[in-house]
């Protein structure tokens, strides 16, 4: 029977076909491929195919010194690179018994949270673009540019920062940074209100997101999904609270949680996280202590004692774990990067089963994937 006559007679039930989404596709944000087996408009199986930009950062970690691996950490999740440097630097400091001075820790928190907002703004623009709304992207990227300017003046890079060092940060913040950051916080608060009235209350958006792509808390646990994904499923898990690092213990902030588990819940979690990050930045600026930004006496060539240790941070996309193994040499014996996008994507095959194709793309966007964060 020809396809056309099968369609006209309605006898298509049970017949499946495969469509290919990506590896170059606007909805996959980078080179991710989805092999989708379809039953009409419905997905019977969506298999992610990864590895298109795999660079083997973990092997690179084994053939350069501890410090030479630092620039790699800015090139894994290029939208929220600060957190990656933070996790790696934290792991090495833990292994070598180095403590960064308080001023450096506050600067780390301020820059990491600025980076979280800039990352969420990219997600906001790109996610709405996936859903067919073009305009919000222009606003989001305009606001994000303000953060990138602040961070570029401080670190020299727009995205691939290599600003943290074992024992501190590479240079101190100046008055321009503090003034610029305060101005940004004051500017961004009313912008968030504007975003909500422009986008969140939009009826088309609500119909595309509410009740779509429901992920249960149990599924998050079984797959190790974290970040806004697990917090959109009713679990208030945040590494900044559960394994507090740096000076997060001294700062007052809330962890936004929504119980619905749908795309709207993940959307709202990220929107509120930006407000919380503004809160953290403001407090950290108020409390910013004087003093050095580098610990003294950190050797140029580190040789941490033999053994392994871990350091986890809350990256923009969720839990990031760096596990290092040292054999007391100037190069790491092993560097393991447990990245949030990898685990968050791994539940996609199960979560997208039975969904309609456009809804499955909304689900994909709501996971906020960065492909080099998966492929590493």
């Amino acid at each position: 029977m020809s396809a056309l006559s099968a369609l006209s007679s309605g006898e298509t039930k049970g017949e499946t076909f495969v469509i290919n989404v990506g590896p170059q596709h606007p909805a996959t944000h980078g080179v991710l491929r989805l092999k989708m087996t379809m039953d009409g408009e419905y997905i019977t199986r969506a298999e992610p195919v990864c590895g298109y930009i795999h660079r083997m950062h973990e092997k690179m970690g084994e053939n350069r010194t501890w410090a030479q691996f630092l620039p790699n950490t800015g090139r894994i999740d290029y939208l929220a690179a600060m957190a990656y440097s933070h996790a790696y630097v934290g792991a090495v400091e833990r292994a070598a018994g180095i403590a960064a001075p308080p001023r450096a820790e506050y600067i780390r928190v301020i820059t990491s949270e600025l980076n979280r907002i800039s990352s969420h703004l990219v997600w906001f623009g790109a996610f709405l673009l996936d859903l067919g709304g073009f305009t919000p992207l222009l606003y989001a990227f305009d606001d994000r540019e303000k953060i990138l300017d602040i961070l570029e003046a401080l670190t020299g890079s727009r995205l691939t920062y290599s600003y943290y060092r074992f024992g501190g940060v590479c240079n101190d913040v100046d008055d321009d940074f503090i003034r610029g950051t305060r101005e940004f916080v004051a500017f961004m608060r009313p912008r968030m209100k504007m975003y909500h009235s422009l986008v969140t209350d939009n009826i088309i958006l609500r119909k595309r997101l509410i009740g779509i792509g429901v992920i249960s808390a149990e599924m998050c646990r079984q797959y190790g999904a974290t970040g806004p994904v697990i917090r959109g499923s009713g679990v208030g898990y945040d590494v900044r609270k559960s394994e507090p690092y740096s000076v997060y213990r001294d700062l007052d902030f809330d962890v936004p949680v929504y119980p619905e588990g749908d795309c709207m819940a993940r959307y709202l979690v990220r929107m509120e996280e930006m407000v919380q990050s503004l809160r953290i930045i403001e407090q950290a600026l108020d409390k910013l202590p004087a003093g050095p930004v580098m610990a003294s006496g950190v050797p140029r060539t580190l040789k941490p004692p033999a053994g392994d240790c871990c350091f986890a941070v809350e990256a923009a996309r969720g839990r990031l774990l760096v596990r290092i193994v040292s054999d007391n040499k100037e190069m790491p014996y092993r560097v393991r990067l447990r990245t949030p996008s990898f685990c968050n994507l791994s539940l996609y095959e199960e979560a997208s089963q039975g969904m309609m194709l456009p809804d499955a793309l909304a689900l994909l966007g709501s996971l906020d994937l960065v492909i080099p964060d998966i492929d590493r």
Binding site: R94, A306, C310, R323, D327, K329, C343
Partner: protein, 175 residues
Amino acid sequence: MISSLQELADQFNKLIAQDVPLPTTPAVPVAAGAQVGTAAPEPASPVQLTDHAAKGFHLDVRLRPERVVAAATLMDENGFAIDAVTGVDWMAEGQMEVVYDFFHPAHAWRVVVRARVPREKPELPTISEIYPGANWHERETHEFFGIVFLGHPNLTPLLLPEDATYHPLRKDFKA
């Protein structure tokens, strides 16, 4: 459900009580300038409460490879989430270490479970039936190290090319 890490440590001790004790890591002399190192001396007890501030985890468990499924089941029953699975190649000792990381979404607990397999026959059972999230981590560990997870539904390359026959994170890998 456990209420403390000590309770969890007791459960692990019960789990491995009947097992043949693990051999202590043989001290392998390393030639000067060798590219491979040796592990730090391992703690006397296979179930060890550790200082989170120093190590980044609370409980460190070493067990025999045939016990990993029982260990994962114990983690699952106590509400832990899968964090990661990975390997470490201890070439000088002729062993590969498989490391399982777990975190708890409600309590702030971190548990590490390790098992060592012989380097010439690196095989151990899969835990992907207990934790579907382990599926991808085991695929990755398989392609990077050549460690075989018996019973895994789809042990094909995930990040490397589909026809890759090499294992780049083995210490004797030459590009």
